[in-house]
Symmetry: C2
């Protein structure tokens, strides 16, 4: 049992100094931190992990938008049940409920094709293209800088994708400092091989989401297929299993608390290297004001819909979503406050400036950072407005529909390739679906009450935050109710047919429409486009200026003997650490390995705690054999590490000190919800399926001896 | 950290075999278990603890209906903040909010008198009176046996109370096997000396109730006063502090996980030695059917009141109470199932019978036990009816008022001393208050819906469970709605003045009343009285027959080398064990000591987690000195032991191996809610204030150096 031996303030300082386990490293950085990895217990050579397009890193794949890994030389892919959920759902039909029952393909011919848009991506190239991306941007500023980078990126990607079967992208590292071209083989024929019942794969469901201790068997096995020529192909019964460039071996060794572990996957986005002022803005304004805004919107919707059964039903989904966002924002705020993130980041930045001021390029670097800060300050000056205008469009149904319709007509006046993302031809089915859905999610008095609240707040902002077009539509505060009444009395957009008809109308027809909401949207659209343009100009400036900050940070860290990983950007990263308990709060100690006894304890017989009888019988038999953890004398289920992860790391391979696969990442703990901004080693943990549980299920509960054999694993 | 080293089934068996820490022992039993106590770590002589009316046991007092202890030679009493809450409330007034602010009497003259009915009871005698109590009962059965015991009890008590200043009672040990006369000095002048702010004394409030980890400073110091003659007296400024026969010394030693601990107090009621059939009835019928009934009542009230704001307000309190009862019943049920209580008790009983059948008196004992079982079976045959009829009266407002009014009129026709408890002259103020309160808790359509549900269920019972008078009032199922409509249309009891007037009416007037509900109550009353009589007859039989079962159990336990404590009955008991962690479920380990860091972690600034600034400043200063626990390097707050407790143990003194006072019991953990039936050593824990926290608060946060000095404690 770990005890709190130090006063809080001191332990905080020490905790923040203990960066050993923080880091989402690019594989190429690993040789540079070889000493730390070995000190942590790694038994291999970090150089062997350093190339994305070589073994074993090219066994780590992107799958269904998240992570996975090849686990056999016949294209078998291990990923999360929740990552493969769409595939399982796609193959379920009346009389064959694969979600409920799970699925075991008896042989290759029984493997079920995934939905056609499901992909497995194998990295085959990772090359620095910074010079090409920035060549045309040099000397430019703002929007021009943004457009130059955007244009070069599109050109590089188009060139790379000329070869059929590849998907390419450009990854921005260190906020515009470096750019890498990522080349990936795009496997389009993916099939379902083995899925446990949902009551195992998603045991605990929403109740346990983000929680530890956890007892989910969140894994599924898929297989990637290619044409007979070995090249990516659409599904065909003639296709053959893809022979991956490499695959990982599932471990047959035991592991326990304190053992070395490392993880490879595709973390989505983090903000760890943002400037101290951005930390302060996030903790002191963004999150608290978002929490307050969510509260007000929830109160408004609940208050208005209270006496109206139909409205309560219509807004149930939006309310659930708002409450979920509120919970997340509050959790992130609590976490960042608990970690004293603003103070810690500010002191760290001040130390960096003290170091920087001793360097020869201090003046020019400082000038760029000041300019970047000025861009941020301009955004801060209108943050209340931006938050409210965003909500006015995003949180309404009919007004949002009107704006979408005007925007679509506007975009359609340009060639498809030049339209804004989300308004291209391929997006129109989605837009039509959203317009249809309004019918089930709208009640006029609720939308008016929500707008009265949001616009009312906007109207109370000082003049410099006002936008003429919004003022024109909503008038002054004293007129607001009258304006809203008129807007919703004079619109026919509450009829589905009207919305879908308007989607077909051209720009001139829509502009001439006498519909009050369409008129309002026509007035608002130029403002919305203008604000978007301003935003792109700011983004361009930050893309130009942030590298100065990052170079200073990297130099400062080097002076501390520390390397800097780039903030997460959906590229392959490796983190290392150990199997770790968690002391989430005073008096509570979470052990890092859960066992099947916890499944029985949680079982209530109703979803999400409805463990299948087959599983409960097997647990009762206690026939665990060599998949049990000897120190616990029973079968483990999930485990906890201090590995550095974020959204996107679902399905990431967790390996032991010798690179053997021991776990599959699927979640992180509630206390770590703030880790996208700050890694606090006291609270940051990642939650994994223990692959000994997978081995036991495949050997003794829902047997698949052929798959164990394929993975070179013992039959029991 | 404790690990689960054994398969579940085996650990269950072992756990149930490990009875070392179970037991609410009568002090007189302690010499008999001296070996076990010493093995557990006790350093004193159990014989010194064996007499209730001698030191140190006579320092353990009853206070405010719960437990407490003298902690100075000047009558200072330590008990829980929640036990003294009424005293604190009584002394609060506009401008002096002692609940919020706490209170420190600067000197004796500033000590504030408690409400006049508040008592401290000091045990001065504990004598076996079995022969006297049972003398007249011998040879009798049923109601006659009951009346004989009741009569002898009243006589013994009356004789004992002849001396002024004493309160006496007869305690029934081992279900009618033994009777003890308890004689207690009744101190009537009790004063408030020191109370922490409510935000300390009740930190965590309802949210943390039953929960661990806990961070409440749930203690208060009172002082008992007597007249100048040393005898109990009503409050007078001339009174002097009571010099107790003995007092406990608060410890200045450290303690930690695993250390010996023991507790003395007045546990209320347990059912540990009930028969296996009663365990089965509780787990298989009583609790599940109670849970189902609560659910239905809650659904009915919520459904009926949903669209009626006034009704929602009126029923908020009843709903809260039903939900609380539901939670408790579900918790007890879950716990008893988790402990496999029915099977464990049944197997234990079968082993007892196997032993019994080898004994010379097997036949007569078996006959008595069979007869007791027959009494229980008769109750089981009508358990559905009894549950429903109970709810029909208890869960209604207007119908209950009508029954109460008829019952009061009926009881008033007898001499006051012979009236049923609850209907004597001294109870009439309370009854009037309840009749008044109906106004704020009643809506006719909700009460009718509730009755439709409850009576509907009753009507669906088989004929043998029917009661003619209830059938007469409510008719057949097809008539129910009509009958209810008529009952509530023809009553004026919804007017407060009508109810209070009816309270003054004599029996004849009430009997002749044309009020439909009063008429219904007049019809029901004879049935209610008859069922009560039957119940007393059953109680008498069980009182006569259960001793056979208890003697068999005691003999069987003796053959196993184990002693048997009597089930709790509000008499002084001692339990021993150790400072113990808790593993409440897979993956979760609770440490047994909480610290002030937990107060900071839980602090939200709003009730019930609104730690006073003074406290938070003191925590931030980390100036804990010798009240800190060295192994943790910080100030402890509460701690957990495996001591055997139940309701009534609030304020019990927790002592170390040398009898020094280290803690004050104030709650138990949620997992232990089923402990009134079964002590499961895996889950049963008791929650105590760590008196080092008290010492720190008195020394450094809300200083009271004069009290530390009086308790012979260091000033810091």
């Amino acid at each position: 049992m770990r005890r709190r031996l130090l006063p809080l303030a001191l332990s905080l300082l020490l905790a923040n100094a203990a960066h050993a386990d923080e880091g989402m490293w690019m594989p190429s950085q690993l040789p540079g931190i070889a000493q730390q990895m070995k000190a942590a217990g790694f038994k291999g050579n970090p150089r062997e992990l350093s190339e994305l397009a070589r073994a074993p890193m090219n066994a780590i794949v992107k799958v269904g938008g998240a992570s996975g890994a090849f686990v056999s030389d016949q294209g078998l892919v291990l990923t999360n049940h929740h990552v493969a959920f769409g595939v399982i759902q796609y193959n379920s039909k009346p009389g064959r409920d694969l979600i409920r029952d799970g699925y075991i393909a008896a042989d290759r011919s029984a493997e079920l094709p995934a939905n056609p848009d499901y992909r497995v991506l194998v990295t085959t190239g990772f090359d620095r293209v910074t010079d090409r991306i920035l060549a045309d941007a040099k000397g430019k500023r703002g929007r021009a800088y943004y457009d130059a980078v955007d244009g070069a990126t599109k050109a590089v990607v188009a060139e790379c994708e000329r070869e059929a079967g590849y998907r390419c992208s450009v990854a921005n590292m260190y906020y515009g400092t470096d750019f890498y071209l990522v080349r990936q083989l795009e496997l389009r024929d993916v099939r379902l091989v083995y899925a446990p019942p949902n009551a195992i794969g998603n045991y605990g469901g929403e109740v346990d989401n983000f929680m530890w201790p956890r007892h989910a068997g969140d894994f599924t096995l898929l297989r990637a297929y290619v044409g007979k020529d070995g090249k990516p192909a659409d599904y065909s019964p003639d296709n053959v299993p893809f022979v991956p460039p490499s695959h990982l071996q599932v471990s047959t060794q035991d592991f326990r608390e304190g053992d070395y572990a490392m993880l490879a996957g595709y973390p989505g986005v983090t903000f760890r290297h943002r400037m101290a002022s951005e930390f302060a803005n996030q903790v002191e304004w963004q999150l608290p004001s978002r929490v307050a805004l969510y509260h007000r919107m929830i109160d408004t919707i609940e208050g208005t819909a209270a006496k109206d059964e139909a409205a309560r039903v219509a807004y149930a989904s939006q309310l659930r979503s708002l409450k979920n966002s509120l919970k997340r924002a509050q959790g992130e705020l609590d976490g960042l406050r608990r970690s004293d993130a603003v103070r810690v980041r500010r002191e760290d930045e001040q130390a960096m400036y003290a170091w920087l001021d001793q360097q020869p390029d201090a003046a020019t670097t400082r000038a760029d950072i000041s300019a970047a800060q000025a861009v941020l300050d301009r955004a801060t000056a209108v943050r209340e407005r931006d938050q409210l205008l965003g909500a006015i469009v995003a949180q309404t149904q009919l007004l949002k529909s009107a704006v979408t319709l005007q925007r679509l007509a506007h975009e359609r006046s340009r060639p498809d390739a030049e339209r804004e993302r989300g308004y291209q031809q391929r997006d129109e089915t989605l837009i039509a679906g959203q317009l249809r859905q309004v019918q089930r999610r709208y009640a006029p008095h609720v939308e008016k009450a929500l707008l009265a609240e949001l616009v009312g707040q906007y109207q109370a902002l000082p003049a410099p935050q006002h936008v003429a077009e919004f003022d024109a539509v909503f008038g002054a505060a004293s007129q607001l109710q009258q304006k809203l009444d008129a807007l919703y009395a004079g619109t026919k957009l509450d009829a589905e047919s009207e919305r879908l008809n308007a989607m077909q109308a051209d720009r001139a027809t829509l502009a001439a429409s006498g519909d009050t909401l369409l008129q309002a949207a026509a007035t608002l659209l130029p403002a919305i486009l203008r604000l978007e343009d301003e935003n792109k100009a700011s983004s361009g400036e930050l893309l130009r200026l942030r590298p100065a900050y990052m170079r200073a940070l990297i130099g400062f860290r080097k002076s501390q003997g520390r390397a800097v990983y780039p903030d997460a950007n959906s590229t392959l990263r490796v983190s290392y650490g150990r199997v770790s308990a968690l002391d989430p709060r005073d008096g509570v100690h979470y052990t890092p390995l859960t066992t099947v006894q916890g499944i029985v304890e949680k079982h209530t017989g109703t979803d999400p705690f409805d463990a299948p009888q087959t599983l409960r019988d097997a647990i009762a038999k206690s026939d665990f054999g060599n998949t049990a953890e000897p120190s616990l004398g029973t079968q483990t289920v999930d485990f906890l590490t201090n590995l550095d992860t974020t959204g996107g790391n679902s399905g990431s391979a967790v390996m032991d000190a010798r690179g053997r696969l021991i776990g599959l990442n699927f979640d992180s703990n509630w206390e770590a919800v703030s880790a996208s901004w700050m890694f606090d080693p006291r609270y940051k943990r990642a939650i994994h399926v223990d692959l000994r549980y997978l081995r036991w299920l495949l050997a003794k509960v829902y047997p698949a001896p052929h798959l164990l054999k394929e993975m070179n694993l013992p039959a029991e």
